[in-house]
Symmetry: C2
Subunit: 430 residues, 2 copies
C-alpha cells in the first residue's frame, strides 16, 4: 500500500497545524497505515492521495447517511446557494425546515438551528438551566456530549468551576441516577441521556427501558428538562428521536451529523414544555441561518421519510455482523461486536475476555491495508450507499486479514494509543 | 412598502421556533418594517419575500466581504463539493489553507479551523489556560466574544462559576488592565482584546497604541498568551491581523465571518509560542474539516491579496460618512458616526449629546422604507461589491428620510428595544 503522498501532506501539515492535525479525525491514535488526508469521496468510497480506494465504514464519523456526494442532496445545496445562503437574515427555508422537523420528530414542537453538535448540546444545557433558574444537570459518566469546556473529554484548558454543577451518574443504572438527583436537591435543572451507550473502546450498551423511563419520571416529578443527545445516533436508530421506540420522549433533543447528509447544520429540537426556556437563552452564530445547508436538510428529511435507507443500513449492518462472526470463529479470534448493527463497535478480546488492543489494532491495520477504512476503537456507521457487494468485499478483506495477522507478541501497535488505552482498560495497581 | 409575505412567514415561524427567531439576526429589536426573511441575495443587494430590494449595509453581519453569491468564490465551493467535502478525514486543501493563512498573517505560524466565531474564541480561551495551567483571563468589559456560556451577553442558562476566572478591565485603559493583572496574580493565563471597541449602541473606539502595547508587554512579562479576537474585524481593517499596523502582534487570533466570504468556516491562528498549548486542548466538530468551505477560503484569501477590496471598502465608507454628515448637517440632525468608515456605527444624538434612540430608530426605519438595510444600533459593514452609485442611492435615501421624519414626540419606536436600551443608556437612579 502506497503512503508517500499522505506522508508528504503530513510533513507539510506538521509545520502549519499543531501536531499536524487535531480533533476526532486525527489519525495519531490509529494504525500507522491509516491515511490522514483524502482526495475524493463518492458514495461509500474514499480515495487517498496515493491512489488507494477504501470502503469507508466510518461515514465521516456519522454525517454520511446516504452516500458521499449524493446527487439530489448536493443539487439542493447548490441550487439554494445560487439564490441566497448566509445573509442579513434567514431565508424562508429556515421556517420550512423547522416545520419539517416538527412533523418528523414526535416530541418536537419547535426547532433552533446551529452548526456544531456541540452547539446543540450546549443550547440544551443552557435551556435546562434557564427553565427554572436551577443549575444541577445530571450527565452519564463518560458520555461524549461535545468538545466545549463543559464537556470536552481531555482536561487541558478547562477549569473545575466550568463543571461545578454537573452530577455524574452511571448509564442504565436507575439507582445511581436517583442518587445524583438526591445530590442535586432543589437545584435540579435536568438530565442528559445518550440514545445508547457509545463511548470509545467500551462495549456499547442498549438503553434499559426502565432507565429511560426513570429519566423521564425524574424530570416530570422534579420540574427539570430531559435531553436526549441524538447528535451521533439521530436518524440512524429510527426516523424519530432515538428513544421513540421505547415510548420515552424528551423535552429537548440535540441533532447534528447526518441531518443534512454532511452539509454543515445541527439543531436543537424541543417540546412546548421547553419553549420558554429556549426562548430566553442568547445563542447565535455567524453561519447558523445560512440557507444552503437548510435546503440540503429539507431534501435529506424527505429521503429519510420516503426511502428504505433505515431498513437497508440495518440489513447491511446485520450481514456485516454475521459475516464477521463467522470469519472470526473460523480464525479462532474472540470478536466483540456491540451496539446497533448499523453503528457497530468492533474490537477483539483475549481468550480470557479482556480487551485485546494489539489484536484489535492489527486487525484494523489489516483491514485498511486491504481497502476498508475500519476503526479500532470508535463505533462505525453504515451508510445507505453501501451494497451487498461492498459487504462481501469487507468480509473478504476480513478473511484475508485474519489469515495474515502478524505475530502479536512482536506486533508494534501505535505507541500513543497503547499508552493512552492500556491505562483506560486496566485498573491502576492498588 | 409591502410586508405581507414577511408577516406570513413570521406567523409560521412563531409556531415552530421559540419567539419565531433567535440570535443576532432576529429583527425583534429592529424597526417594525425590517424584513426578517430574505428570498434572494446578490452582490450588495437583498430581496425580501414582498419584492422589496435593499442595498444591504449589514453584509450578513460581517461575512459578506466581496458580495453575495460571488461567482469565483462560490465556484470553488461547488467544485470542491464535487470532489470531497466532509469525509472521514480532511482533504489536502486543509493543509493548503493553513499554509495560506500562515503566509498572510504576520503573527501566525499555524492554523486550526472550526465553524463558529465562538469556536475560535473558545479555543483561544482554552489555549490561554493550557499554556501554563493557569486560569485567570483578562477580558475587556462589555466586549462581545461569542455566545457560549462563558461569553454570551445575556445571563439566562449561565452559571456564575463558568465565569469565575475572568477579570474584566476597561478597554483602552492601561491602569485598569494592570489592576486586572494584579488581581490575577500568579494565576494569570492571558488577555483578550478586540481590534477596536465595537459594542452595540456605544460609540466605537479605536485602540490606543499604548493600550495595545501594554497588552503585549503584560503577556510577555508574565508568561501569558495574548489574544486578538478578529472574528468581526478580520481582513476589514487590513490584510493582516487587525493590530498589525500598530506594530503589536498577538500569540493567538480568532477569525470567522469574512474569511470565506460567507461560507461556513472560522479559525484560530497562533504563533509558535502558543503552539504547544493549542496542541494540548481537545476541540473538534463534525464539520470542521469539510473541504468545500476551505476551498472557498483559499479563493477568498487570493482575492484579499490580489484585489483592491480594502481600499475600495474604505473609500466607499468614507464617501458614505462624509455624505451622511452633509445630509445630517442640512437637516440639523446631530449624527454620531464612529468606528472605521468601512465598519460604521451610525446613530443620532440629542442636541445635548445624549443618545437619541427615537431619532435613531425613526431614521433607520426611514432608510429601510427607502430601500437601504440600515441597522440602528449595531455596526454595519461595507462590502466590496458596493459601488459609487450604491452610495449615491444610500445618500438619496438618507436625504428623503431626513425630510420625512415622523414627529418624534409621538413616534412609536420598537417597544422592546426601548425597554432594553433606555436602561442601558441612562444611569439608574441613585
Amino acid at each position: 500500500m502506497k503512503t508517500e503522498r499522505n506522508a508528504d501532506l503530513l510533513k507539510r501539515a506538521a509545520k502549519v497545524v499543531p501536531n499536524g492535525m487535531y480533533g476526532h479525525q486525527s489519525t495519531a491514535m490509529l494504525p500507522g497505515v491509516t491515511p490522514q488526508f483524502f482526495a475524493r469521496a463518492k458514495g461509500t468510497y474514499l480515495w487517498d492521495y496515493d491512489g488507494n480506494r477504501f470502503i469507508d465504514l466510518m461515514s465521516a464519523y456519522g454525517p454520511n447517511l446516504f452516500g458521499y456526494g449524493h446527487a439530489e442532496i448536493d443539487a439542493e445545496y447548490v441550487r439554494q446557494l445560487g439564490e441566497i445562503d448566509g445573509a442579513t437574515g434567514p431565508s424562508g427555508v429556515f421556517v420550512e425546515l423547522a416545520e419539517r422537523f416538527v412533523d418528523q420528530v414526535t416530541h418536537a414542537d419547535w426547532a433552533m438551528f446551529c452548526k456544531n453538535g456541540t452547539d446543540a448540546t450546549t443550547m440544551a444545557l443552557m435551556a435546562c438551566r434557564a427553565h427554572r433558574g436551577r443549575r444541577k444537570v445530571l450527565i452519564a459518566s463518560g458520555a461524549y456530549h461535545g468538545a466545549a469546556p463543559w464537556c470536552t473529554p481531555l482536561p487541558y484548558g478547562v477549569t473545575d468551576e466550568e463543571r461545578a454543577h454537573f452530577i455524574y451518574y452511571q448509564y442504565n443504572d436507575v439507582e445511581s441516577l436517583e442518587a445524583a438527583l438526591a445530590k442535586a436537591g432543589d437545584d435540579f435543572a435536568g438530565v442528559f441521556a445518550t440514545p445508547h451507550k457509545h463511548e470509545i473502546i467500551s462495549d456499547q450498551e442498549a438503553p434499559d427501558p426502565a432507565y429511560a423511563k426513570a429519566v423521564r419520571d425524574i424530570c416530570d416529578g422534579h420540574d427539570g428538562l430531559m435531553v436526549v443527545d441524538d447528535v451521533r445516533a439521530g436518524f440512524r436508530i429510527n426516523r424519530d428521536c432515538s428513544w421513540h421506540h421505547l415510548g420515552v420522549e424528551p423535552d429537548l433533543s440535540s441533532w447534528g451529523k447526518a441531518i443534512a447528509n454532511g452539509h454543515p447544520i445541527s439543531c436543537l429540537l424541543g417540546s412546548d414544555r421547553a419553549r420558554e426556556a429556549a426562548g430566553k437563552i442568547f445563542v447565535t452564530g455567524s453561519f447558523w441561518f445560512a440557507a444552503a445547508a437548510m435546503a440540503a436538510s429539507v431534501k435529506t428529511l424527505e429521503l429519510i421519510r420516503q426511502s428504505d435507507y433505515l431498513e437497508r443500513t440495518i440489513a447491511m449492518g446485520d450481514r456485516l455482523r454475521n459475516g464477521l462472526d463467522q470469519v472470526a470463529a473460523s480464525a479462532g479470534l474472540p470478536i466483540s461486536q456491540t451496539g446497533p448493527a448499523q453503528m457497530p463497535l468492533i474490537m477483539f478480546n483475549t481468550d480470557k475476555g479482556a480487551r485485546d488492543l494489539a489484536l484489535t489494532y492489527a486487525f484494523s491495520e489489516g483491514m485498511i491495508t486491504n481497502g476498508v477504512h475500519f476503526h479500532p476503537y470508535h463505533n462505525m456507521f453504515i451508510n445507505a450507499a453501501m451494497t451487498d457487494q461492498d459487504i462481501d468485499q469487507i468480509l473478504e478483506a476480513a478473511e484475508t486479514t485474519s489469515k495474515t495477522l502478524p505475530d502479536l507478541s512482536t506486533y508494534q501497535m501505535n505507541p500513543m494509543a497503547k499508552a493512552a488505552f492500556q491505562a483506560r482498560l486496566e485498573p491502576a495497581p492498588a
